[in-house]
């Protein structure tokens, strides 16, 4: 009896290893647990992209469910998702706010001028559709870092109290919207606004 249990030990170990490795086949090494989930949008004071006289703070997320879309004209996937985002805005009245940052506009050695960026943005939005209520210009890419972004496009689903409830890395297409984002979006629409003190 003792001999049998001792012999089966390596077999049990082997089976456990197989299960572990098999699970590894389907895990996504790029899937990171976002730290921003269930935390309020970080503090910022940033200008509007197209009219720098206007300044925004996290107050803009109060009272409305918003999808904050991190994007740039240099980002190809962003261009691809623009028509679908525009469709969502028109058909379901989803509120999109852009967090725009430019790659060439190096905070240390600025290369591209602001009028040039604005021209490029306008051209792109006319060509592919404009889902945005407005665009926040993250000049030094500080807010992007505070949000914990890894690239573009990325989306943050923000509830009526200005708290991030879902961080989606990558584009929004019909499949992503139906399976991942819309269910959360619909529940957030039902939620009342909570009063909470900012940290």
């Amino acid at each position: 009896m003792k001999k049998v249990s001792l012999l089966s030990l390596p077999l049990i170990g082997f089976c456990l290893l197989i299960v572990f490795l098999y699970k590894g086949l389907f895990s996504d090494p790029r899937a990171l647990e976002s730290q921003i989930n269930n935390r309020p949008v970080p503090e910022f004071t940033l200008p509007d992209l197209l009219n720098t006289d206007i300044t925004y703070t996290p107050e803009v997320f109060k009272n409305k469910v918003t999808i904050l879309n991190v994007w740039g004209v240099w980002c190809i996937t962003c261009a691809i998702e623009l028509p679908y985002l525009t469709h969502l805005k028109e058909s379901e009245n989803v509120r999109f706010v852009g967090l725009y940052f430019d790659q060439d506009l190096d905070p240390d050695f600025g290369e591209k001028s602001l009028p040039q960026i604005q021209r490029e943005v306008k051209t792109m939005l006319t060509k592919y559709g404009n889902p945005y209520e407005f665009n926040i210009f993250d000049i030094a890419r500080e807010t992007a870092l505070d949000l914990g972004i890894t690239g573009a496009p990325e989306h943050f689903l923000i509830d009526k109290s200005g708290v991030v409830r879902l961080h989606h890395i990558g584009d929004i297409n019909e499949r992503v919207w139906k399976n991942k984002i819309e269910p959360v979006y619909q529940t957030l629409l039902q939620e009342p606004e909570r009063r909470l003190g900012r940290e």
Partner: protein, 152 residues
């Protein structure tokens, strides 16, 4: 032939300087050598969230560039290395730092190998003892048999 070897060795030697040239591209100026040390250490130990398996010193991704700049700024503000690491962790999670924290989930990384070694030693000792008693019993049986033969 020897010419070719010379060229090859020069090329190999040049390779050794590539990483240095790479790291120098940001051209940060440090207040003191200790700060420079800290910057080089941190950028080597922080992991790029975009190009996984590269540290931020090595990666050319925009986010790595931004993180390097942030590390530099934070150090200039007088933040300690731990403060910089926790700043990054609060934004990107434990993933961002190459040294994993000891938690209930990760403790097994250290415990499992030790447990494995302990079990192996125990198994070895038990088997050795079994062998000894076995051979003793065998010898006894043999002696008995010889005795039996003598009797008959």
């Amino acid at each position: 032939m020897s010419n070719r070897i010379t060229v090859l060795s020069i090329l190999l030697l040049a390779l050794a300087f590539v990483t240095d040239a790479y790291a120098a591209k940001d051209r940060y100026e440090f207040d003191d050598p200790a700060q420079r040390e800290a910057f080089l250490k941190l950028t080597a130990e922080l992991r790029c969230p975009m190009c996984q398996n590269q540290n931020i010193a090595d990666s050319d991704a925009m986010i790595a560039q931004d993180m390097r700049r942030k590390v530099f700024r934070l150090l200039q503000e007088g933040k300690s290395e731990e403060e910089v690491i926790s700043y990054m962790k609060s934004r990107y999670g434990d993933f961002i730092y190459y040294q994993p924290p000891v938690t209930m989930g990760t403790i097994w990384l250290w415990l499992l190998p030790i447990a494995f070694a302990v079990i192996a030693v125990v198994v070895l000792i038990v088997r050795k003892q079994q062998q000894r008693t076995d051979s003793d019993a065998e010898k006894l049986a043999k002696a008995e048999r010889i005795l039996e033969q003598d009797k008959s």
